[in-house]
């Protein structure tokens, strides 16, 4: 028998109201803001788009046989070029370091000034801004766009819509097209792309980036930030009550209400409930509801509010970069407090400096020549018919410089040791000269033979390589194995 007693409700619960589990996107019509943050955003947009489109065309002479593009991720050649820096695949940790540096930079900026990245620098924001600018050019500002969308189809509406989407697609294509310039020689790809001779991957990526740019900046916009991007979720862990966020100062603004000219400001807040902050918001939110997931901190509501405050002759800054704690303290009648230097900001800054120093030190001190000696594991040693013992090695010489080199090779450290390189003759002095190509890796098979008398167990010797032109010396101590203990 079951011990569970079922409770029968006195009256059955009301039937759930029929409702939609899926929300239709509400079109947002952001109004054009005027002010210092809008200006900063225009300048930042021009700068970042300029960098994106122009950098692939910069040249950097590296000598013959090597790409002369200043910034290039050369997958076919297995190299990454950044001006004077040439990264080999085995040095991908520099790229990892760059990523870590960027992440820490994001953390630091977020804990100091909130979502500056989202508001000014994120490609989603920059391209959406550009797309809205185009939209405004064709359809007018917020009110005109809303009117146009409400109208039935007409010639006027059609050409504006078609024009807008055509320019959007053109921008999208140029965006996708510029992306592939970073992976192939820009001049070559720009010529071959239009005559159908570029690599298939170039068309593929240009098409993908064209599609995503058009969809994300044209039709999805704020939905990308709200539904697709993980950063709004992560930033909640990075911000705190001391971070400067775009904030509605409710201590000053409330109680809000319409204000007629000449009325007293006594006993009321400065917010006149004009909703300008809502109308300029590209995310379609009300900043006066407080910090929220959707807010990208683009600061356009600050511009909109300041403009209104000037009109009603109240001090600007009702919406401003401010901290939660400062607003709360002012509301409680205490003086505001700002603390930019906090444990987390110090930690992020210190980590950034440490990693930057480490990377700079690594880059400045990295050699252009590398010697790798790989001992044969099978057989570990070979006893020759005369009783002598021989070990085989593969010598990998990595030359990262633009000059071909010639390295002289000798070995010492074990009595009676003899060195032999397959395919090369030794000089009388016992030296062997190994050519190494520029920007390449050369492999040599070498044999080291030790007489029966001095061979036994594990021993060590040194391979000495010297650049015959510069005298640069590389020693490599390696092991020699023989039967015995």
């Amino acid at each position: 028998m079951s011990r569970v007693t079922l409770i029968t409700p006195k009256s059955p619960p009301p039937a759930p109201p029929p409702q939609d589990l899926y929300a239709k996107r509400k079109q947002i019509y952001p109004k054009l803001a005027h002010g210092k943050f809008r200006t900063v955003k225009w300048v930042a947009m021009a700068g970042m788009l300029g960098i994106y489109y122009l950098v692939p065309w910069l040249r950097w002479d590296r000598g013959a046989g090597v790409p002369d593009q200043a910034v290039l991720a050369d997958f076919a050649g297995e190299r990454f070029f950044f001006f004077g820096i040439e990264i080999w695949p085995q040095e991908a940790y520099y790229l990892a370091g760059l990523m870590i540096l960027a992440a820490l930079g994001l953390f630091l900026v977020t804990s100091l000034f909130g979502r500056v990245w989202c508001g000014y620098a994120c490609p989603q924001t920059v391209w959406t801004d550009l797309y809205i600018w185009v939209e405004r050019a064709f359809e007018g500002d917020r009110a005109a766009r809303m009117r146009l969308d409400a109208k039935p189809v007409s010639f006027n509406k059609a050409w504006r819509k078609v024009g807008k989407h055509a320019v959007w697609l053109l921008i999208a294509f140029v965006t996708g097209g510029a992306f592939i310039l970073y992976f192939h020689d820009a001049q070559m790809i720009a010529q071959t792309f239009f005559i159908g001779e570029a690599p298939l991957s170039a068309y593929w990526f240009a098409a993908i980036l064209t599609g995503t740019t058009y969809a994300l900046a044209g039709t999805m916009r704020e939905q990308v930030c709200t539904y697709l991007c993980p950063w709004p979720r992560i930033q909640a862990a990075l911000t705190d009550e001391h971070a400067l966020n775009v904030t509605y100062r409710y201590d000053r603004g409330e109680p809000r209400g319409p204000h007629r000219k000449g009325e007293s400001w006594e006993g009321r807040g400065d917010c006149i409930d004009c909703k300008q902050c809502v109308q300029v918001c590209p995310m379609g939110i009300d900043i006066r509801d407080g910090a929220q997931l959707e807010c990208i901190h683009c600061a356009l509501c600050i511009d909109a509010c300041d403009e209104m405050m000037k009109k009603v002759e109240r001090p600007t800054g009702l919406i401003a970069y401010d901290t939660d704690i400062a607003v709360a303290r002012r509301a409680a009648g205490m003086p505001a407090q700002y603390r930019l230097i906090r444990a987390r900001t110090v930690l992020y800054a210190a980590l950034m400096v440490a990693i930057a120093v480490l990377m700079a030190w690594g880059l400045l001190n990295r050699g252009t020549f590398e010697v790798n000696v790989l001992k044969d594991r099978s057989p570990p040693y070979v006893r020759l018919s005369g009783g002598d013992v021989r070990n085989g090695y593969t010598l990998k010489l990595v030359n990262k410089s633009g000059e071909a080199r010639e390295m002289s090779l000798e070995a010492n450290g074990i009595d009676g040791l003899e060195l032999e390189v397959i395919g090369l003759e030794a000089t009388e002095a016992g030296r062997i000269f190994l050519p190494v190509a520029a920007h390449g890796v050369d492999r040599y098979r070498i044999f080291v033979t030790v007489p029966q008398e001095t061979a036994g167990g594990r021993d060590h010797f040194t391979l000495l390589l010297q650049d015959t032109a510069t005298g640069e010396l590389h020693g490599n101590r390696t092991s020699f194995m023989a039967p015995g203990d």
Binding site: V382, S385, F447
Partner: protein, 294 residues
């Protein structure tokens, strides 16, 4: 619709779905509608995919899976890739065919190509017996040392690879037979003991001097014709040098006794029947480079 009142959750201000369990209400935070459309899109895509690509597994009576309109088959694709790789290689392979073995070894580019293809062919075909890197095993000669049964020159190695050793299907195979002195009653057990003592003395081992002395006469009569009067061997018949310390079948007394009693006469297949000429040349260059090349 409007006769139902909306149930709003007070703390969040979000509408509930009306579902309630012990006072816990489910909030309705609706998904964006395009999300739903993407899901519909994936369903439509999967139908198209099933039509175009092989999707329905072999059913009884159908024999094989459905091919789809694209006729895609991974097996055929792999075969095509192998074929295209072969034709790509044949360009470099053609250079190998025309070049002599010496030219291959001295031309750095050809040598690197031959070494790479030789190494992989060695791993596929030779390492089973001769070990990785030609380290050898009991009964299978070490290819990395300087002791050769037949020949250690490039041409010699190529010939061995081509025709094999005691591979009777190949008329040109390297061939010789050592008699099984004990099994075939050519020598008494005592005589074999004597001759083994003598053979071991050739490489400087400590042996029974009297036996070795007796064995020297037997060696001269029975063995010297192939292994040479001094026991230094004869490569024309693949007779190993007995004066060094390298033993294919082991250098202990009982190993050598066993060899004399039963004879060994090891086999190696003729690879000319199985591998193309460019591969054989690559293998010859690779084996020659292992350390014993002459």
């Amino acid at each position: 619709m409007s006769e139902h009142h909306k149930d709003i959750d007070q703390p969040t201000g979000v509408e509930t779905t009306g579902h309630e369990w012990d006072g816990i209400k489910e909030l309705n935070n609706p998904l964006p509608r395009w999300w739903l459309y993407i899901w519909y899109g994936t369903i439509a895509f999967s139908i198209g995919y099933m039509v175009v690509m092989p999707a329905i597994p072999a059913l009884p009576g159908l024999g094989t899976n459905t091919r789809g309109l694209a006729g895609q088959s991974d097996r055929i694709a792999v075969a095509e890739q192998v074929e295209s790789l072969r034709s790509q290689r044949s360009a470099s392979g053609a250079a190998l065919l025309t070049a002599s073995l010496e030219e291959i070894e001295t031309d750095r580019e050809l040598q690197q190509f031959a070494m790479a293809s030789g190494e992989s062919a060695f791993g596929d075909n030779c390492a089973t017996c001769h070990g990785a890197g030609g380290r050898g095993a009991k009964g299978y000669p070490t290819l990395a040392d300087d002791s050769w049964l037949w020949s250690g020159t490039l041409e010699g190695i190529e010939y061995t690879l081509q025709h094999g050793i005691r591979h009777e299907e190949d008329a040109d195979t390297r061939f010789s037979l050592m008699p099984a002195f004990g099994r075939d009653r050519l020598l008494e057990r005592q005589q074999i003991d004597d001759v083994v003592n003598h053979v071991l003395s050739l490489s400087g081992r400590e042996v029974d001097e009297a036996a070795s002395k007796r064995g020297a006469d037997i060696f001269a009569a029975q063995c010297a014709s192939c292994h040479g009067a001094n026991g230094t061997g004869d490569r024309t018949v693949g007779a190993p040098n007995l004066t060094d310390d390298i033993w294919v079948f082991g250098g202990e007394y009982r190993d050598v006794y066993n060899t004399v009693y039963n004879a060994r006469n090891a086999h190696m297949p003729a690879w000319g029947e199985r591998l193309d000429e460019a591969t054989i040349k690559s293998l010859a260059v690779y084996v020659h480079s292992l350390g014993g090349g002459e």
